[in-house]
């Protein structure tokens, strides 16, 4: 099923991949990696970045060999209709659950920081409705959302200069004091935050200049890695080790020490602006999952969106406590790790070997 599209320029892939990586994970990532790798959390991030760079190269070569099909169609081609669709169903469920996890973690964040008394389902409903409104505009509108929300939120990085005045360099020394095991565990734990580059599998057919795509995707990933690195290093320098282990969202705690002459508690504004940061994630995951539903069940995307959103809304009533949220997000991180860190390597080998097996069988 070739999709009949009018394409977007390659530089927009930078914004899509970067905004789909930055979501709710970045708020808590310093703590999560710190728990595993202690002071060398930043090394975990650099290793993670190198691995993801390599994965991007793999993904693009997989996509180039299949000539402009997205992942759902590649599975159908490789494994046949039945098994391919089972794998596609797993991917669709992953994206639905990703969407859901972002919504519930944001609602939890908002309720903790100043909206006590608001019912959770109200916030969930609002987020779901604006996502549906955006996705109903088509892929062009979603890419526009990524582009605009990047520019509307990127200025928040520069606020970091205020906590910088109270950092202590000794907290990151001595370097390399953790075992390689712990560092690799840190890489594993950071997977929920790093995920986002898998949208590359699905936006590939929409891009005009496929040759420049690699450059922009690598730029996006390294931009994200640099951002995460800065935030992790500053968190380690700013918080004492016990403080960092106890805090739930270290980045928000850091922002709360920022103060401007015309706004006192800046983190209230930052948390509200965080909706703009997660909005592209929500839109992209809804778009990709409904595209999968269209591929498997032949349900038009316009209708698939409503079905998926109803499902997400109903299930939001079931997971409400902080503990449950944590477990859920860890599970998503785990599934994401296996699905998007390990599986593409596997896929690449299958695609590389398959023609050779077929030519051998033809000759014999």
């Amino acid at each position: 099923m070739e999709t009949n599209t009018r394409n977007i320029n390659a530089y927009l892939a930078f914004f899509i991949i970067h905004t789909s990586q930055i979501g709710m994970g970045i708020l808590g990532v310093p703590k999560i990696i710190f728990l595993e790798a202690n002071k060398d959390a930043w090394i975990s991030i650099i290793l993670s970045g190198l691995f993801i760079s390599f994965l991007t190269w793999l993904i693009i070569s997989i996509l180039k060999r299949n000539k402009g099909k997205n992942l759902y169609e590649i599975h159908e081609n490789l494994f046949g209709r039945f098994i391919g669709n089972i794998i596609n169903l797993c991917i669709v469920i992953y994206f639905i659950e990703l969407n859901y996890s972002i919504i519930i973690s944001y609602i939890e964040l908002a309720i903790t920081w100043g909206y006590e008394g608001i019912y959770e389902w109200v916030g969930t409903l609002a987020l779901i409705l604006i996502t549906i409104y955006a996705v109903l505009g088509g892929f062009r509108v979603i890419v526009g959302v990524c582009f605009l929300s990047f520019f509307m939120t990127i200025w928040m990085i520069f606020i970091i200069y205020q906590p910088l005045s109270s950092i202590d360099y000794i907290r990151i020394l001595p370097v390399l004091s953790s075992t390689p095991d712990e560092i690799l565990n840190g890489v594993f734990r950071s997977s929920y935050t790093m995920l986002g580059f898998e949208t590359l599998f699905f936006i590939f057919p929409f891009i005009k200049e496929k040759k420049k795509l690699h450059l922009y995707s690598q730029l996006a990933i390294w931009f994200t890695i640099v951002l995460l690195l800065t935030i992790t290093i500053i968190s380690i320098l700013y918080f004492s080790p016990k403080e960092l282990e106890d805090s739930v969202w270290p980045l928000v705690s850091m922002i709360s020490s920022v103060r401007f002459p015309f706004i006192e508690r800046f983190e209230v504004l930052a948390i509200s602006l965080w909706i703009l940061v997660i909005f592209p994630n929500l839109c992209l995951s809804l778009f990709i999952s409904s595209k999968g539903v269209k591929h498997i069940f032949n349900l038009k995307q316009k209708h698939g969106i409503w079905v998926i959103s109803l499902f997400i809304f109903v299930s939001s009533f079931f997971i409400t406590k902080r503990v449950d949220n944590d477990i859920f997000i860890d599970k998503i991180g785990l599934i994401g790790f296996y699905l998007w860190f390990i599986y593409p390597v596997f896929l690449y080998f299958i695609i590389a070997i398959k023609p050779k097996i077929f030519t051998r069988t033809k000759r014999s």
Binding site: R6, F139, R140, V141, G144, V145, L148, S272, F279
Partner: protein, 488 residues
């Protein structure tokens, strides 16, 4: 039915009188030159008497008898517009436009000559839009004089002024004006198709026409630029846009428009680049402030009072302590009061208007604060918002901002800052979806064209503007048919 009336006896004075329902203005002048009868039928108040007397009646009376034939008269009568091949319907509508129907009963032929005397307002200064610097004339209600103004200022042979007719019951003439080699062909085609599909009884004004031609009728934001100033019109045409003028309206329609073109004024070109860039930023900043400031106040007062710096908190707290309403209600009340003042001020006769403005603004504002109905900080905020909405040079965009402010205030009152951000998301998605004549509304910001940004966000000295923006701006067209989401 399509017979040449010139050869048919069926249209005579009695019949015309009955079709026109016995109009008292219908007159018939029967001439006789050497026993050759000639009838001149006309509407008394629609013609210019000198033209009829000098160039028709006197001319015919001075001709020798053998020259008074249909063929000779048709070729030699000294009037610039003559119609000879027409149907009954066209004859009646021409009579109603000021033509005279000259019939030669002997030959049973007739023709129409033009003696019109349209009422025209003289060309005056523009009322709704004004420039500090630059040409100040405005269009008038007469289509011919408007086209004349445009032709005088833009005398390029590529300027096309295509004619169309709209309106089922009351037909009006419409002119589509564009430069053939510069204008975008797809937009032109779309515009002409939409004009043909229109089936409104009467198109009262060009703003009605603009509303019918829009891509998205439900949006708050205008998708065509409506302007009264010829220099603005000509500037847009030279940039590749297409203009539409309708008879009877001094306002012209320009499309396709994008969001930032509503914030540029021709004054930006007449003034130097430094002031123009500064003023453009002020306009955008005023628009953003006008949209969000009141909402921000409501959100901060209701949910997040800790955001306000502690020094200001004392002042605001003091003034708010006397107010019995919650901040949302207070803000809505004051905004509605300002809207009322503005509406009433627009309708009042000019002698009373000034006094009412002062009474409304100063006395009512001061009195509400002292009575304890609102806080004085809110009055400052609301008046800034009111001013900011009119920083957009095009009136329609100012009204769009006025209206969009209210849902944002309500969202702020219900959900606080997050509500405002959700409103921002909805607004952003809406503007991304919006198209004007199938061209994206947020160009050059969303289909990002760096080269076109210098036309819309800032203004550089003139030697940087070597290329027209239309080359990059109107490249991509979005046609919406019943497609699925991944096929756009």
């Amino acid at each position: 039915m399509a017979t040449n009336i010139g050869n048919n006896k069926s249209l005579n004075y009695e019949k015309i009188k009955s079709i026109l329902n016995g109009s008292p203005d219908l007159s018939c002048r029967k001439l006789e030159v050497d026993q050759l009868p000639i009838e001149v039928i006309f509407m008394k108040n629609l013609i210019k008497a000198e033209i009829l007397n000098e160039y028709v009646i006197k001319y015919i009376q001075q001709l020798p008898k053998e020259y008074i034939t249909y063929g000779y008269l048709l070729k030699n009568i000294p009037i610039e517009e003559v119609k000879s091949d027409f149907e009954e319907q066209e004859a009646i509508s021409s009579l109603l436009s000021g033509f005279a129907y000259i019939s030669l009963p002997n030959e049973r032929k007739a023709f129409l000559v033009s003696c019109t005397n349209p009422i025209e307002r003289s060309i005056e200064k523009a009322e709704t839009e004004s420039l500090v610097y630059g040409p100040k004339i405005s269009f008038t209600e007469s289509l011919t004089s408007n086209v004349k103004i445009i032709r005088q200022n833009l005398n390029n042979p590529n300027l096309c002024t295509d004619e169309m007719k709209v309106g089922e019951y009351n037909q009006k003439q419409v002119r589509i004006i564009y430069l053939k080699d510069i204008a975008n062909d797809e937009s032109l085609k779309t515009l002409k198709e939409r004009l043909e599909k229109m089936n409104l009884d009467n198109v009262s004004d060009s703003s009605v026409l603009a509303q019918c031609l829009e891509d998205n009728h439900y949006s708050f934001f205008p998708q065509f630029i409506l302007t009264e100033l010829p220099d603005r019109f000509i500037y847009s045409i030279l940039n590749g846009r297409i203009g539409v003028l309708i008879d009877g309206s001094p306002i012209s329609i320009i499309g396709p428009a994008n969001f930032f073109s509503f914030f540029e004024s021709t004054e930006d070109i007449y003034l130097r680049w430094s002031l123009s860039t500064f003023i453009r930023f002020i306009r955008l900043f005023a628009m953003v402030g006008s949209l969000f400031l009141t909402a921000f106040y409501v959100a901060a007062m209701t949910f997040h009072y800790e955001i306000i710096p502690s020094k200001m908190l004392l002042i605001i707290g003091q003034s708010r302590s006397q107010v019995p309403f919650p901040p949302l209600l207070e803000a809505l009340l004051l905004e509605l009061l300002i809207e009322l003042l503005r509406e009433a001020g627009a309708r009042l006769p000019s002698k009373v208007g000034q006094t009412m403005g002062i009474v409304g603004g100063i006395v009512i504002g001061q009195a509400t604060v002292e009575a304890g109905l609102t806080s004085n900080v809110l009055i400052i905020v609301v008046s800034f918002s009111a001013l900011g909405a009119f920083s957009a040079p095009i009136y329609e965009m100012g009204t769009a901002i006025r209206i969009t402010r209210f849902p944002l205030i309500i969202l702020a009152g219900v959900w606080g800052l997050s509500g405002i951000i959700i409103g921002v998301c909805i607004l952003m998605v809406h503007l991304l979806k919006l198209t004007s004549l199938n061209k994206p509304y947020l160009a050059p910001l969303y289909p990002f064209r760096l080269k076109d940004l210098k036309y819309f966000l800032i203004r550089l000295p003139h030697h940087y503007y070597k290329q027209r923006p239309s080359r990059g701006l109107f490249r991509s067209s979005i046609t919406k048919k019943d497609k699925d989401l991944d096929e756009f």
